[in-house]
Symmetry: C2
DNA sequence: CGGGAACAATCCGCTGCCGTAACGATCCTT
DNA sequence: AAGGATCGTTACGGCAGCGGATTGTTCCCG
């Protein structure tokens, strides 16, 4: 079944999530970075810079820079496509999977605590 | 009843929301700005700079700057507390309420479209 | 009434992200 | 083999946010 949610609950959910994110001194991903990370982990590979840029409606340098940042955090990694060496394949990492797993659990926990 | 949500659904929800936010060329609020905005609209007034800073665990200049930015977008407004003129009371605006209303509806729509 | 406390705003230097425009490498087509 | 197209990256100048320290008001209390 679809997830039932009223607007007031939705805003409370966002509120709790944003408070948790701000207070965590965890690496504070920007909206664009998070969108890229989720695309890499939730959509079917392979992922290229160009593909992600088109998917998000942003320019390629934006993707490159986001990958630089998240690569330094070990949330994603890059590899040359040997079949077409112009392409770069974006790969998932253990740390990235763990990061998103925690994030998902956090959302679930907040949702469960939401007032009726 | 609490909102039922599985981790995979939670991540899909975040994915759709972040994609929508990135593609909208709407004023892209930072996580901190959104947290402040939601606190102002969802928690009981009055709201002061100091109170919000303590609530989010950030410094006061962060709140002042966020209010500058969101004030320019007419999402919030400021007023001197006449009872204690050291304080600044953060007030809601029609535009801000509308902004959050749309945001809440968007979350609901995405949640409803989530696969079982 | 005077000195200190509380509050918000501002200043400072720094870091990170932005968009545009280039660039080098690689592929494809002829 | 050569020209053009495609891909990712980098260079550049600009803008916004950050933390920490400081300032100017206003209040409080002895």
């Amino acid at each position: 079944m679809a997830v039932e949610l009223r607007p007031s609950q939705a805003l409370r959910l966002l509120h709790e999530l944003s408070l948790a994110q701000v207070r965590d001194d965890a690496p504070d991903l920007s909206p664009r970075q998070l969108a890229i990370l989720l695309s890499v982990y939730l959509e079917t590979p392979p992922h290229t810079v160009r593909g992600l840029a088109a998917r998000l409606g942003v320019t390629k340098p934006v993707v490159t820079r986001a990958l630089d940042t998240m690569g330094a955090l070990h949330l994603v990694s890059r590899r040359r496509d040997e079949a077409d060496r112009r392409n770069v394949i974006i790969q998932r990492t253990v740390e990235g999977a763990l990061y998103l797993e925690k994030l998902g659990d956090q959302v679930v926990a907040v949702a469960r605590a939401l007032p009726r």
